[in-house]
């Protein structure tokens, strides 16, 4: 059996979870195993309605009187206890912050290695994996051994597809045996970020600038474009290091990870650290003077030109078309 960790918001599985379920189904097919899911929170039945279509046969709904919010150690301990009880072939998590966190706890408790950000698996006694390194710049073939294989599915890489023979998932309650020490880290409150405007991480359109912008004032034109497109504004690490923008605006491995429909990087070369942050973008429209810049290779549309000329003209053209 393949046990999949399901992350959900009020009973609706996150996209990365659906990707992980699709990935898990491939492993399940190869090993002739069933897929089951572990879900935290009261919404087990609602989640079961959703994940049945992805081939999940049973949902283990974890509940405990002292467990009403996210508690990473307790969640990892619960998954570990489910591993004891169910002896799954593998535990697969989405490649999200929580997915990695819970899996890391499970790995640490069971003293097992985990393989993060996997793309493909050939499952045998040990697993031959293809996984991302350096945020996807390089791929690695690796072998994972151990009694229970712990994997996460690389986010935004696998297209989530329901199973041909999907059905209903049964719900089974599971009450873990938790000690006080498992519960010492719990959420005491959740605050929505008080940033103004559209949060970068959730924006459908993102305009951003890098070293090529040249100055803090250079961002004015980009702000204007962002306004016209109802987009959020971001920047590369180079622009943050120059002091032109605050760290909150940084898109990249050490900043915000974005997944817009359209991303418009202006004067950004596309260093690895930046590409990790924007690889979730559906389409990239790059504006850059250098046709050899790495970002041009990753873009669907590329304007070879100076952003200081192109962006004002573009703003003008949009205003003309929309009468703004």
């Amino acid at each position: 059996m393949i046990l999949t960790f399901v992350e959900h918001e009020a009973g609706v599985p996150e996209d990365t979870t659906l990707e992980a379920l699709t990935f898990a189904r491939d492993v399940a097919d190869q090993t002739d195993s069933a897929i089951e899911a572990v879900v935290f929170g009261d919404e087990g039945p609602a989640v079961a309605d959703e994940v049945g279509a992805y081939g999940v046969g049973a949902v283990h709904a974890v509940s405990h009187p002292d467990l009403d919010t996210y508690a990473p150690e307790a969640w990892g301990e619960s998954v570990s206890q489910l591993v004891d009880e169910l002896s799954p072939e593998a535990v697969i998590a989405p490649g999200s912050d929580r997915g990695h966190e819970v899996l890391a706890h499970t790995a640490a408790k069971r003293d097992l290695a985990m393989a993060a950000n996997c793309l493909e698996v050939e499952a045998g006694d040990s697993y031959e994996l293809t996984r991302q390194r350096w945020g996807g710049t390089l791929l690695e073939h690796a072998r994972l051994s151990g009694e229970t294989k712990l994997l996460s599915a690389a986010p935004n890489e696998i297209s989530a597809e329901p199973a041909d023979d999907g059905g209903e998932a049964a719900v089974q309650e599971f009450e873990p045996d938790l000690e006080e020490s498992d519960l010492r880290v719990q959420i005491s409150s959740i605050e929505e970020s008080d940033e103004e405007g559209i949060p970068l991480g959730e924006a459908r359109t993102v305009v951003s600038g890098g070293r090529g912008v040249g100055s803090p004032e250079g961002f004015d034109k980009l702000e204007e474009l962002a306004d016209l497109l109802d987009a959020a504004i971001g920047s590369s690490r180079a622009a943050v290091n120059e002091g032109w923008r605050s760290h909150d605006d940084q898109i990249g491995q050490t900043g915000t990870k974005i997944s817009p429909k359209l991303y418009i990087p202006c004067g950004i070369s596309g260093a690895v650290q930046h590409m990790v942050g924007c690889k979730g973008a559906e389409n990239i429209m790059a504006i850059n003077t250098d046709p050899e810049a790495a970002i041009i290779q990753k873009a669907e549309y590329a304007v070879i030109g100076d952003l200081h000329e192109v962006v004002p003209e573009l703003n003008e053209a949009i205003r003309e078309e929309t009468g703004q």
Binding site: A104, I190, E192, L229, T254, E300, E313
Partner: protein, 262 residues
Amino acid sequence: MKVLVTVAEEVTVDDDFEIDGTRVDDRYLSYDLNEWDDYALEEAVQLSEQHDDVDVVTATIGPERVEETVRQALAKGADRAVRVWADALAGEVLDPVTKARLLAAVAREEEPDLVLSGVQTGDDAFGATGVALAQQLGFAWAAVVNDLDIDREAGVASVHRELEGGVEELTDVELPAVFTIQTGINEPRYASLRGIRQAQSKPLEAASPSELGLSAGDLVSSLSVASLYEPETESDVTLFEGDADETAGELADLLREKGVEA
């Protein structure tokens, strides 16, 4: 009070590079203090500036080469450094559990009240070493901390955690604890000339895993790398190379087609 900061090298790959077996050829790599750890270090150094009795010790896994990076940490204000390495570890990809074993061995010697570590290292982005370290030490743990407030008398830390989608959590954690620190929590300083000079005379101790009480079996990983390669990229970019005003009209049309124009 003692704060142990785990400091890793950040390895960056040049835009053009060659692969040598399971590694990127050394000639195309540059080494620096891991950006995430830089914030963890700054947090510890600020604590030691606020309180006279706070000692900041760094722990690093790596061969002699990493001492250059470790000296940077000392120059920024750490008091002392420990480096752990064995030649047998060369060429291996260390998984989080193995890294944590090495760091936990250092921590057992040092007995810190607080362990700070960066959220992740750039190259493999597991983000899992901190968790495994806390587990092995039996310490409490919180990740992705972007605000840290320590009540030393009560032995409790209030931490803000940043989660995906701009959501923040507030958590109280009892010490001793391991925290992984998010970028942006503070503004890491540049080393001063005086700091760089002083760093040369600060203690930097090298220890082998066996000296720290680990056996060869503790260093065997169940994850091994067979090969490393570049993904095939299929670039089918549509280029716009005309005058800015011509291009602008075409782009505006394209944006409208894509349905992003407001």
